[in-house]
């Protein structure tokens, strides 16, 4: 549990600290993995497979998220030539 919590925290720090949107995305992947570790650990502890099933779902969601997210990054990069999140304020201006 502590392991997954620590990984989660690393992910959170990554999201908050880094400017590079790709690294932010990777941090999100780390967070999802932390969740997965938790789920699998519980499933092993409780001796049933439900945790693993949920982990499969999480992986599927992560894949979807990565695909769409990276698509957005690419589209954005093509227009703006940056991957710095601070400069991504289209909505604001």
């Amino acid at each position: 549990m502590l392991l997954s919590a620590s990984l989660f925290i690393i992910g959170v720090i990554g999201v908050m600290v880094r400017r590079n949107i790709i690294i932010i995305f990777m941090s999100i992947e780390l967070i999802l993995n932390a969740v997965n570790i938790n789920l699998v650990a519980f499933s092993a502890q409780l001796g049933n497979q439900i945790g693993q099933v949920f982990a499969v779902f999480v992986i599927a969601v992560a894949a979807a998220e990565a695909a769409v997210g990276l698509g957005i990054i690419l589209a954005f990069y093509r227009n703006k030539e940056t991957i710095n999140i601070d400069e991504m304020n289209l909505m604001r201006s």
Partner: protein
Amino acid sequence: MAQAIAFYVIAACILGFGVLVISTKDTVHSVLFLVLDFLFVAALYVLLGAQFLAAIQVLVYAGGIVVLYLFVVMLVNLKRPPEAHSDPHRRTKLGFGLAAAVLVELGAIAAYGYARPATAFAMPAAAAMPVSGNTEQVGWLLYTSYLIPFEIASMLLLVAMIGAIVLAKREL
């Protein structure tokens, strides 16, 4: 005993690489560490008796998602570090603050857990650990009890796929 050692080694690797992922300057190195991290997570799954999930982890995460990341990094291939400008400490404090809050909370839970040892979870059976046929059981659950979530997940993937194609396509 051997299991415990393996667990701690793997855990240390996961955390270490996790730190490296978010602290490395070069994005490609960061992606590489992410792969290593995921591989160790897969190892952890094996240790926890979830071989199927471990294989899926490697296949989908390491083999699929991270390759995607690598592609994007190479496409937007930039030697100039994107964080060179605009004050880097603006949200750093917030980030560490939040992380500290989570840590404190966790500490509290842990302390609480130690204070009232295991009543809620009687830890039903470590004996019921599935040894073989892991894939079969997960599959069985997926296609019976969790069929609807499964279908929803597949729809989500489909939508994501279409969305990604639309976004990435240059002209419609």
